[in-house]
């Protein structure tokens, strides 16, 4: 009986209201918004005195921010896709990675790269411990797991506040990335480190894709995403795969924290801010979908930057709102995100 209902709810798509009107309206609003941005950017022509240089910088800001969002969101979506765990401690692990790297670079005088690797290890390890101690035996109870990770994030955030203080601090970037890079147009220069962040996001995405589609490990992971029980029955040690995924996902959160701590700064509260943006990215794309996360990161990064710069002055303080309106609209139209599978 139980298997019957299970099979039924898997094969029949959940009754989802078809709202092509709302979807079309959302697309139209998005296109109008983009047109508004482009109009403002190019209204004074392409000359140096026009708005194009600013537009380019803002676009680059949006793209590099999208890179940062993607790095931390990819970990979240990996963990969700495979384990069905919504890791709401992801933000805390993100901040932990940043603080560990800060400590290593500032106090131990370590090179940025080594510090970044160790910080990833630290976040990954903490994530792994949380998974093994608290989450593993609650498998399948996703709300309970979400509550557990909320509790963990409260504890971690408060402990970090105790150890690292409340003053915002930034990590010094590696020396050869510290200088701005000349872009060759309009005499513009852009911080090298932020470009490196975008490159790193592309590398992470590429690695993910290669491992997913080209290796045996990726095959096992994909099989696990589709049907955990069957994969386990075929002799794969699914628990080991789960633990590894949790480690890698948490380590990616840590890497995101290192990048954010270098490009922006580290402060209490950043954990919640980045958890929320990672959630927006992942949910917009559909939880568990890597391509969805990339699209979500791009949308969030650009909307965030364009809204801050191009909304009429009297509305510009509402720009923070726009992201969440975007999220609510997408979830209302597609309850499992753009590329999410109905479960």
């Amino acid at each position: 009986m139980a298997t019957q209902t299970a099979a039924a709810s898997r094969s029949t798509p959940r009754p989802r209201p078809r709202l092509p009107v709302a979807a079309t309206a959302a697309v139209v609003v998005g296109v109008l918004g983009l047109l508004g941005v482009l109009l403002q950017a190019f209204e004074k022509g392409l000359g140096t005195e026009g708005n194009v240089p600013t537009f380019l910088l803002i676009t680059l800001n949006g793209l590099t921010l999208a890179g940062l969002y993607f790095i931390s969101a990819s970990g979240l979506t990996l963990i969700f896709g495979l384990l069905r765990v919504t890791n709401l401690a992801h933000g805390a692990l993100f901040l932990l990675g940043g603080y560990v790297a800060l400590e290593l670079v500032q106090d131990a005088g370590m090179s940025w790269w080594l510090a970044a690797v160790l910080a990833m290890g630290a976040s990954g390890l903490v994530g792994l411990v949380v998974h093994q101690l608290f989450l593993r035996w609650n498998q399948g109870q996703d709300l309970r797991q979400a509550l557990i990770t909320i509790a963990v994030s409260l504890i971690l955030a408060d402990q970090m506040l105790a150890h690292f203080g409340a003053t915002p601090t930034a990590i010094a970037p590696p020396e050869w990335l510290a200088q701005p890079l000349s872009l060759g147009v309009y005499d513009l220069a852009y911080p090298r480190f932020r470009i490196a962040m975008l490159v790193a996001a592309l590398v992470v995405g590429l690695l993910f894709w290669l491992v997913y589609t080209r290796t045996r490990v990726g095959m096992v992971v994909r099989a696990g995403v589709d049907d955990t029980q069957m994969t386990s029955a075929l002799g794969v040690n699914v628990q080991l795969v789960f633990a590894a995924a949790f480690f890698v996902g948490s380590a990616l959160a840590g890497l995101g924290g290192v990048f954010a701590g270098t490009a922006l700064s580290l402060a209490p509260g950043q954990d919640q801010a980045f958890l929320v943006s990672a959630l927006v990215v992942v949910i917009v794309g559909g939880m568990g979908s890597l391509g969805g996360a990339a699209l979500g990161a791009l949308l969030l990064g650009l909307v965030d930057q364009y809204a801050g710069a191009y909304l009429p002055a009297e509305y510009s303080n509402l720009s923070a709102l726009l992201t969440f309106v975007l999220l609510a609209v997408i979830l209302a139209v597609r309850p499992t995100g753009l590329f999410g599978k109905a479960r």
Binding site: R84, D142, L143, R144, I155, L331, P335
Partner: protein, 344 residues
């Protein structure tokens, strides 16, 4: 049988004693205690119970209750302070606005389940927070100060007794009202939707409509809590509805127990007591709160009330001389954190 009757009477008697003690709090305790612990735990319990109702009977764990709380509280505060409305009329307007917003949120979110529901309500909470933090009409980050509760209720700081009794009456009414709703045909259908939406849909129930209405019903409770909080603190700001507060309300409800409505106030009282007295001797209050939260979620999904419940049934079985424990005292509520997956 007589033993059962006696035990039931005993439980009822104990409840009555608790209620009398709680009602006598302004007489028995200091003004500080009544105003700081009493008022806070009552309005916190009231907003938490709207979440307990949604999660326990509708399977909807919502982070948007503080948003509705803020809509009502800030609108009532703004109308009474800046537009000079009568506090009661302002309160009514605030609660109606919160109900309307609740209907909207509920209608939008009713298509989502489990984790997705949690996250879409998180988005609502953030939208509301950023809206109130940005709009000068509601004082932006400053908020609205100098909110005057109705004259009948007295000064909430100097003489909190009448305010306290009013909050207590509202709390009891909310409890009875929500419990009544859960026993109507609608409430039973809502619990069906919580347990198996697919089957309920197959039986001809409109699942989304039930979720939407359930959400809307909880909205005025959260809204009333917002107004009462603005009255008790004589102020309200966007900071009162930040994500941290939304998580605090969730924590409170979980500590008390998501399966039983009364758990909301138990959790709120525990939290407020700790908040008032524990902060004095530990700097790491949030850590301890997190640890308690974690232990409760891991050990007793029914929260403190659930623990009390199992202790009582253990006592029952001991009193009967080793007979098997009686059938669960009331509704055999399932473990609250239901899986949204279903098929897995």
């Amino acid at each position: 049988m007589t033993m059962d009757r006696m035990l039931t009477l005993g439980t009822r008697g104990a409840l009555a004693v608790v209620l009398v003690v709680v009602a006598l709090m302004p007489v028995l305790c200091t003004t500080f205690f009544t105003s700081q612990v009493g008022l806070t735990s009552l309005w916190l319990g009231l907003v938490a119970v709207s979440l307990t109702f949604l999660s326990g009977y509708g399977g909807m764990v919502s982070l948007a209750q503080t948003a509705l709380f803020g809509v009502a509280g800030l609108i009532a505060a703004r109308l009474s302070v800046e537009s000079g409305w009568d506090p009661w009329a302002a309160a009514l307007a605030g609660i109606l606005a919160a109900t309307a917003v609740g209907l909207l949120f509920g209608a939008v979110a009713s298509g989502s389940q489990g984790i997705y529901f949690l996250i879409i309500t998180l988005a609502f909470a953030q939208v509301t927070y950023f809206y109130f933090a940005a709009v000068p009409t509601f004082g932006a980050h400053e908020g609205i100060n100098g909110v005057r509760p109705p004259a009948v209720l007295g000064d909430p700081v100097q003489d909190p007794a009448r305010m306290y009794w009013f909050l207590l009456v509202v709390s009891v009414l909310a409890f009875l009202g929500l419990r009544h709703v859960s026993r109507t045909a609608f409430g039973l259908a809502l619990q069906g939707v919580r347990d198996d939406p697919v089957r309920m849909a197959a039986l001809g129930y409109n699942v989304r409509l039930h979720r939407t209405l359930g959400f809307t019903l909880a909205a005025p409770v959260a809204g009333a809590a917002g107004v009462l909080s603005a009255w008790s603190n004589t102020r309200m700001s966007a900071g009162s509805i930040s994500l941290a507060i939304a998580i605090l309300v969730l924590t409170t409800a979980v500590i008390g127990g998501l399966n039983r409505l009364e758990g909301a106030w138990v959790g709120a009282l525990i939290y407020t007591l700790c908040d008032t007295y524990l902060r004095g001797w530990t700097d790491r209050f949030t850590t301890w709160l997190g640890v308690v939260f974690l232990v409760i979620v891991l050990v007793s999904p029914g929260g403190v009330v659930g623990l009390l419940g199992s202790a009582t049934s253990w006592l029952h079985s001991r009193l009967r001389g080793g007979a098997p424990p009686p059938a669960a005292p009331s509704t055999p509520a399932p473990p609250v954190p239901v899986s949204s997956g279903g098929a897995r």
